[in-house]
Amino acid sequence: MIAAPALFLALVSFWEMVVVSRVRVRAPSERDWQALSAAVRAAHRPGDLIVFAPGWIDPLGRHYLGDLIPLEMAGRMDAARYPVIWEVSERGARARETADLEPDRSQDFGRLTLRHYRQRAAVVVTDFAAALPGAEVSGRSRGAPSVLLEEVGFEPHRCVVVVPAPDQTVRIRYPAVELGAELVGHVGLADVFTRRDVRDPARLVVSIDGRTVADLTVGVDDGWVRFRALTTPHAGAVVEIAATAIGPRARDRRVCFAAEARR
């Protein structure tokens, strides 16, 4: 026992040298990426979603496969509308989009793993971002609501951006909406710097034919928050989405929402 400290230091030192020497070797090589890229390209169909795990390999993944990822896909609200998902994984990681799925195919390419998933895709009957031009807008805001690719929760999201004046509400009324069995959406505050400098939250209220089906308050650290309401399938519904900047100091609340009525 008297020599235990020396033994401890020797073991730690050896272990550290071994770990350090292996870190670089364990990174996927250019060849791994190219082989995986070729395999994806051979079987990929337009509309297949490609995701990367862990998230930090995303730039590398886009470097090799980014031409198969349109902006709309990169800024998706969620993965529900994609019947096929390709997952490029390193270090055994899983993407959020495949968490509840089982792969029907999996292949290793050196340090990378390619997994193929199928799911029952959601059928979108109304995309509220795409339907924005037909909506009626009321309330005080900075500029008119518009559909943009924005950063929310440090991720890209294509959404309707509305910036209500402080303590004001902007109502976006969709006059004749086709509804399905559910209405699913996400909301968050865009832009990291305005989130840092102004800490006040925003509120989003969704109502269908005058009945509130979702009422959320989103803060600066909440990211991309999901909401869902069961609906009765029919055409001609009046859907109103009201965004409020809560409080007199709530300037620059870039409320960013996306929503879909799904069959």
Binding site: I2, A3, A4, P5, A6, F8, L9, A10, V12, S13, F14, W15, E16, M17, V19, V20, S21, V23, R24, R26, A27, P28, E30, Q34, P54, W56, I57, D58, P59, L60, R62, H63, Y64, G66, D67, I69, L71, A74, E90, R91, A93, R111, L148, L149, E150, E151, F154, E155, P156, D191, V192, R195, R196, R199, V220
Partner: protein, 593 residues
């Protein structure tokens, strides 16, 4: 009694270590990109240096309020970089003028970085000196080596910034104070060192928080010994003196041990600060207030830590501890733990080194204060390990002690088993040397592996850069890694002669762009496109230096270029550091990283 030969030997070792450190820093910085903050420091430093040259030349008007304001001050909080004291910037400027402009021995960048490297080398020598004094030359040697082999400390030592100099001057202040406990004359050294530390960076303001509690402890202990209190002097057979006697003894000790301590800290140090900062030569109180107020109202940086992006208090209290755990070589930390246990055991046994001046307590307080401020959740978020770097010498000194203690125990184990004789000559230091070399080798492997991106590097405990990324630790800051993308831009993006320029959106590398061009690291025809949306719109190529909150730059580029596909991704241990996008139709689409 000190052996003269030993003193000379130690000085020679200290000098050799300093030279080795200087060479190591200057060699590694050659591959280091330009940190965003270096550029304003170098620019201001050149102005300050020219002012001092004019001052020394007795040029008319140099000391006019207007000339001083134009050089060091200004109406706005960041005019002429007035938010930071001038010492290091002035040295950067003087070094650049001497070694680049006059002698032509070094580039503008290397010449500007030289003063930091010199101070880091001095810190290595000081750590050796203190370690040798406390636990012998071998302990000092390993402590100094382990400090030199800290990947992030070595990185900061090669930049024209303030963090490595702050470590050196923080340490110099503590050493001067420690000496002042034995010699009143050293209070002058204390005032000078503290003043220079104040003139380097505002975290020097925390130094009294180390010195004053330590001084109180020293005074308390000496007063107890003086009045024969058995609590402080177990050999004393006297009855415990009364409370009033003890209090009187304590006050007397406070006044007598170093009567010039408070004047040195409260008057001498500030006078040195004022002497080297001409902006404080007038409206002193207001200018000091402006300086401090900038930092107390400092904007919160975005900083990723354990998967969350923090840019507003409260910041987790454990960030300094966990970041240290993941960035200092593990073997060094382990040796420091052994050293701390060994030192604590000695204190318990009443065999602490120099209990009269308590140097180990001083270094422990130094680390506690340097890191402790960042345990307060409301401390502004500056980010990164560099802010509590003055704690690192303490870790290294303890590691030196740990190595010696562990080696000594090996020797004792061998003696107990009678495998070697008690008077085994070389056998006793051999154990410590073997352990020390192993620990230093581990630290060396971390330091080598971290090049040239130590800010993205994490230690074996974290799992290297990929482990750091998995843990959600900060990827990098200051835009340093942009340098790694320059060869790609040169080769694949730079226009041929006679072709129109290709503006590049550079975001965090923007301040360094012109300097890269002047240093010949970037070909002509790749101007900075400017900032934010308009810069992206003007650009034909774009960089994104990956930090979590910089995802917004990717998105701006995607919107403008209509593609999410970077043409090039710079990686470190497989972790993306920089993406380069080309506006379609691509100038040339290359694959590789």
């Amino acid at each position: 009694m000190r052996i003269p030969g030993q003193r000379v030997r130690r000085r020679l070792i200290a000098a050799a270590l300093a030279v080795a450190a200087l060479i190591a820093v200057l060699a590694t910085q050659r591959h280091t990109g330009i940190a965003r903050d270096e550029v304003p420091y170098m620019t201001s430093g050149a102005k300050y240096a020219r002012w001092w040259i004019d001052f020394a030349s007795l040029r008319d008007g140099t000391t006019s309020e207007r000339r001083i304001t134009d050089t060091f001050g200004g109406a706005h909080p960041t005019d002429n970089n007035r938010e930071h004291p001038p010492l290091m910037k002035t040295l950067f400027g003087l070094s650049r003028i001497l070694f680049c402009d006059v002698l032509g021995w070094a580039s503008e960048l290397t010449a500007s970085r030289l003063p930091t490297a010199v101070l880091h080398a001095a810190a290595v020598a000081m750590i050796f000196g203190l370690g040798a004094q406390l636990w012998g030359s071998a302990a000092g040697l390993f402590a100094a080596l382990l400090f030199l082999l800290m990947p992030r400390a070595l990185f900061h030592a090669g930049l024209a910034t303030f963090d490595a100099p702050m470590v050196a001057l923080w340490l110099a202040t503590l050493l001067a104070y420690h000496r002042s406990l034995a010699s009143r004359w050293w209070s002058i050294g204390l005032a000078v060192a503290f003043g220079l530390a104040l003139a380097t960076k505002h975290n020097a303001l925390m130094l009294p928080g180390v010195i004053l509690p330590h001084y109180a402890w020293v005074a308390w202990r000496r007063s107890r010994v003086a009045v024969g209190d058995p609590a402080a002097d177990p050999s004393s057979a006297a009855a415990r003196p009364g409370r009033l006697v003890r209090l009187r003894g304590f006050v007397r000790a406070l006044v007598r041990i170093q009567p010039f301590l408070v004047p040195a800290l409260a008057v001498g140090g500030p006078l040195v600060l004022i002497a080297v900062w001409p902006w404080l030569w007038f409206d002193t109180v207001q200018h000091v207030r402006d300086w401090i107020s900038f930092h107390t109202h400092h904007v919160h940086y975005n900083f990723e830590y354990l998967g969350e992006n923090y840019n507003h208090p409260p910041f987790p209290w454990h960030v300094a501890l966990v970041t240290t755990l993941f960035t200092v070589p593990v073997a060094t930390l382990a040796a420091a733990v052994v050293g701390a246990a060994h030192t604590a055991a000695r204190v318990r046994r009443g065999t602490a080194v120099d209990p009269d001046r308590a140097p180990v307590l001083l270094m422990a307080l130094s680390a506690a204060v340097a890191m402790g401020v960042f345990l307060i959740p409301t401390t502004p978020i500056f980010g990164a390990e560099k802010h509590w770097a003055p704690a690192m010498p303490t870790f290294c000194l303890l590691a030196g002690a740990g190595i010696i203690s562990a080696g000594d125990r090996v020797w004792r184990a061998l003696v107990m088993r009678r495998w070697i004789p008690v008077t085994g000559g070389f056998a006793r230091p051999a154990g410590a040397i073997a352990v020390g070399l192993l620990v230093a080798s581990a630290a060396l492997s971390e330091t080598v592996a971290a090049q040239p991106y130590p800010l993205s590097s994490y230690n074996a405990l974290a799992g290297g850069a990929p482990g750091g990324a998995d843990l959600g630790m900060n990827r990098q800051f200051w835009g340093v890694a942009a340098r790694g993308a320059l060869p790609y831009l040169d080769e694949h993006v730079a226009p041929a002669s006679g072709q129109p320029p290709v503006p590049v959106y550079t975001h965090d590398a923007s301040p360094a762009w012109g300097l890269y061009r002047r240093l010949g690291l970037l070909r002509a025809g790749l101007p900075d496109a400017g900032g934010e949306e308009r810069g992206v719109q003007r650009s034909r190529a774009a960089l994104v230096i990956h930090e979590r909150h910089f995802a917004r730059h990717d998105i701006m580029i995607w919107r403008e270029y209509g593609t999410v596909q970077p043409a090039f991704v710079l990686t470190f241990q497989g972790v993306p550091l920089v993406s380069v996008y080309l506006r379609p139709p691509p100038l040339r689409q290359d694959v590789g990283h």
